[in-house]
C-alpha cells in the first residue's frame, strides 16, 4: 500500500532520534555493565550488586511509600479540581504548577531549612514548648521530599482523566442506591484507572532514581540507588562499570514494577 510507505517515511526523523538518544546510550550502558576496566566481558559487576541489596530495597520501599502518599493526596484534589467551573479549574491548575517553576534544588533546600533541628518548624514548635523534633535526615523526610516534588505528576494525569467523567454517571450511581463510599469504589476509581496507572508511573520512576532528595533530606543514612550510581560516576568511588550495572538493574526493577501495575489494570478491566 503506497499510503503505508509514506507513513513509514514520515516517522524516520523520530526513528533517528530514538536511535541516537535512546538506543545508543542504552547500548553503551549495557556495554559498560558487562565489561571490566580493560574492556573484557565479565559478569562480576552484576554479581557484585548483591552487596547493595539494602540500598535497592530501601529505594523501592521509599519510592513506593511516596507514590502511595501521592495517590492518596492527589485523588481527592484531582476530583475536586475536575468538578470546578472551567475558569476556576485553570486558575487552580496554575497554582498547582507554580512551585514547579522554581528550581528543584531550591525547593528541596527550602525543606532542609524548614526541617532542621533549629529550623523554622522546630523553632515554631519551641514557642509552645514542644520538641525539637528530629525530622531532617530521616526516611520520612526523604518521602516528604519525593511527595512534595512529584505530587503534580500524580495530579495532572488523574485530573485529565477525571474531567472526562460525566457528572451524570455519578448521579446515576447515587440514584441506584450508592452512598459516597460506593460511588468511589464502584464508579470513580474504576473510571480513573488509566490516570491512576499513569500517575503511579510518573511518580514512582523519578522517586526510585532520585539522588538529590535523599542526599539533602536523608543525610548519609538514607542512601538510595540514585546516590550509589552517582557515586560511581562523579563520586570518589569512581567505577563506571559498576555504575552501569546498577543502572541496568534499576531499569529492570522499574520495568518489573511497571508491568505489575499494567497487569493490575488489565485484571481490573477483565473483572468489571
Amino acid at each position: 500500500m503506497p499510503m503505508k510507505k509514506k507513513t513509514v517515511w514520515a516517522a524516520s526523523p523520530y526513528l533517528v532520534w530514538m536511535a541516537v538518544f535512546i538506543a545508543a546510550p542504552l547500548a553503551i550502558v549495557l556495554y559498560f555493565a558487562f565489561t571490566d576496566k580493560a574492556g573484557r566481558f565479565t559478569l562480576a559487576n552484576i554479581m557484585g550488586l548483591g552487596a547493595y541489596t539494602t540500598v535497592f530495597s530501601r529505594s523501592i520501599v521509599l519510592a513506593a511509600v511516596a507514590t502511595a502518599v501521592c495517590l492518596v493526596i492527589a485523588f481527592p484534589i484531582s476530583y475536586l479540581l475536575s468538578r470546578m467551573r472551567p475558569a476556576r479549574q485553570r486558575m487552580m491548575q496554575m497554582l498547582l504548577m507554580l512551585p514547579m517553576w522554581m528550581n528543584f534544588l531550591l525547593r528541596t533546600y527550602a525543606w532542609m531549612s524548614l526541617l532542621e533541628l533549629n529550623g523554622l518548624i522546630n523553632r515554631f514548635l519551641g514557642l509552645f514548648g514542644i520538641g525539637p523534633l528530629h525530622m531532617i535526615n530521616t526516611s520520612g523526610a526523604v518521602v516528604l521530599g519525593m511527595v512534595y516534588n512529584y505530587l503534580p505528576y500524580m495530579i495532572l494525569p488523574l485530573y485529565t482523566i477525571m474531567v472526562k467523567i460525566d457528572g451524570s454517571v455519578i448521579e446515576a450511581a447515587q440514584d441506584l442506591g450508592a452512598n459516597a463510599f460506593m460511588v468511589l469504589t464502584r464508579v470513580l476509581i474504576p473510571l480513573s484507572m488509566p490516570g491512576i496507572t499513569t500517575g503511579i508511573t510518573m511518580v514512582f520512576v523519578p522517586s526510585i532514581s532520585t539522588f538529590i532528595i535523599s542526599r539533602m533530606l536523608g543525610g548519609g543514612s538514607n542512601l538510595l540507588i540514585g546516590d550509589l550510581i552517582e557515586l560511581q560516576f562523579l563520586g570518589n568511588s569512581y567505577n563506571y562499570n559498576l555504575g552501569s550495572a546498577m543502572s541496568v538493574m534499576l531499569m529492570v526493577i522499574v520495568l518489573l514494577c511497571m508491568s505489575f501495575t499494567t497487569a493490575d489494570t488489565e485484571e481490573m478491566e477483565a473483572m468489571v
Binding site: D166, S168, E171, Q174, D175, L176, G177, V187, P190, M193
Partner: protein
C-alpha cells in the same frame, strides 16, 4: 384521580446563583399515573424532576413521598430511580453489569440479581445483549439499558428526563408506545419530562404544563388541548390562533370585527378576553358564505393536511385543512361555537 398521592411537592423554591428556577411550585402525583412535565427549555421541568430525585435541594418548600417528608433525604435513600437525559450508562461495565448495578448494591443474592436483571433486559427487548459493551450500542439500545437499569430496582416512581430526546423520529414513536406499555404492565408511577407536546399528549394520563418556573395547567391531555387555561398553554400545546376579543354577553363574543356564538358564560359584560381557535377548527368555505373572509398568503403541504396562512383585516390566521386553497385566493372562514375557547385576559 382515584389513586392515592404517592409524591407531592409543596411550595418548592429553587434558585441557582440568585436566578429563580422554581417559584413556589406545588404538585401532587398520584400512584400508577403517567405524569408528564411539559414546557419550553428553561421552564424548570428538569429541575422539578431533580428535586423529586434528590439531586437539587430546594431553598424552601417540602417534598413528600408516601406522606413522609423526604426533602433532606439523599438520592441514594429515595425509592425513586431516574432515566437520565444522556443515559449516563457506566462506561466501565457491560450491559448486564449496568443493569445489575443497583441490585448488587443492595447485596442481593447473585442468583436473584441474575434472574431479575435478565428478566428486565427481556422486558426492554435486549435479551442476548448482556455481554455487550455499552459504547457499542445504538442510541435506542442504550436508552433501553438505562430504562432497565432503573426499573430493575422496582422503584415506586420512575423519573425520566427527556429520555427520547436524542432518538430519531421513528424510533421515538416506537419508544413512546413501548414506554407506555412498560408503565402499564409494571403499574408504577412515571414522571416524564419533555418539551415535545405531541409526546406529552400521546403518553400521559396527566400533563403538567410549565413556564418560567411555575405550573400553568394540570389536566388530562384532552383538557389541556381543548380547554387551555391561558394563552401560554394554548400556544404551547398545538398551534393556535390567539386573538383579543370582547365578551358581549354570555354565549356571545366579538373578535376580528365579527360577533360569534360561543359556549362560554360567566364573564363580565364587555370584558376584554383572549380567544383561542385551533387551526384545524376553522372551516374553509367559498368567500361569500364565510363569517370572515381572508386572503390566502401561502400554502404549505404538511403531509396529512395543508397549512395555510390567511390575512384577514390585519389578523394573520393559521388554518389546517385537508383541502388546499390557492395562494392569492379569497376564502371564507367559519368557526362553530364549540371551537371557540375563551380565556381571561390576565396572564396567570
Amino acid at each position: 384521580m382515584e389513586n392515592s398521592v404517592i409524591t407531592a411537592l409543596q411550595n418548592i423554591v429553587v434558585d441557582f446563583d440568585g436566578e429563580p428556577i422554581l417559584t413556589g411550585l406545588s404538585l401532587e402525583i398520584h400512584d400508577k399515573e403517567f405524569v408528564t412535565l411539559l414546557g419550553p427549555s428553561g421552564c424548570g421541568k428538569t429541575t422539578t424532576l431533580r428535586v423529586i430525585g434528590g439531586f437539587v435541594e430546594p431553598k424552601s418548600g417540602s417534598v413528600f413521598f408516601d406522606g413522609k417528608d423526604i426533602t433532606r433525604l439523599p438520592p441514594y435513600r429515595r425509592q425513586v430511580n431516574t432515566v437520565f437525559q444522556k443515559y449516563a450508562l457506566f462506561p466501565h461495565l457491560n450491559v448486564f453489569d449496568n443493569v445489575a448495578f443497583g441490585l448488587r448494591l443492595q447485596k442481593l443474592d447473585e442468583k436473584e440479581v441474575r434472574s431479575r436483571s435478565l428478566a428486565m433486559l427481556e422486558l426492554v427487548g435486549l435479551k442476548g445483549y448482556e455481554r455487550r459493551n455499552t459504547a457499542a450500542l445504538s442510541g435506542g439500545q442504550q436508552q433501553r439499558v438505562a430504562i432497565a437499569r432503573a426499573l430493575v430496582n422496582h422503584p415506586r416512581v420512575l423519573l425520566l428526563d427527556e429520555p427520547l430526546g436524542a432518538l430519531d423520529l421513528k424510533l421515538r414513536k416506537e419508544m413512546q408506545i413501548e414506554l407506555k406499555r412498560i408503565q402499564q404492565s409494571l403499574a408504577i408511577t412515571f414522571v416524564y419530562v419533555t418539551h415535545d407536546q405531541e409526546e406529552a399528549l400521546t403518553m400521559s394520563d396527566t400533563v403538567v404544563v410549565m413556564n418560567k418556573g411555575a405550573i400553568q395547567q394540570v389536566g388530562s391531555p384532552q383538557d389541556i388541548y381543548n380547554e387551555p387555561n391561558n394563552a401560554f398553554v394554548a400556544d404551547f400545546i398545538g398551534e393556535s390562533n390567539i386573538l383579543d376579543g370582547v365578551m358581549l354577553r354570555d354565549f356571545l363574543v366579538e373578535f376580528a370585527g365579527q360577533e360569534f356564538a360561543c359556549v362560554d358564560a360567566g364573564f363580565a359584560e364587555r370584558e376584554i378576553v383572549q380567544v383561542v381557535v385551533r387551526p384545524e377548527d376553522i372551516r374553509v368555505v367559498p368567500a361569500i358564505q364565510g363569517q370572515l373572509t381572508g386572503l390566502v398568503e401561502n400554502v404549505i403541504f404538511k403531509g396529512v393536511h395543508y397549512e395555510m396562512h390567511v390575512r384577514q383585516a390585519g389578523t394573520e390566521w393559521i388554518i389546517h385543512s385537508t383541502q388546499a386553497s390557492q395562494a392569492g385566493e379569497l376564502i371564507g372562514m367559519c368557526i362553530g361555537p364549540d371551537e371557540i375557547h375563551i380565556m381571561h385576559r390576565s396572564n396567570r
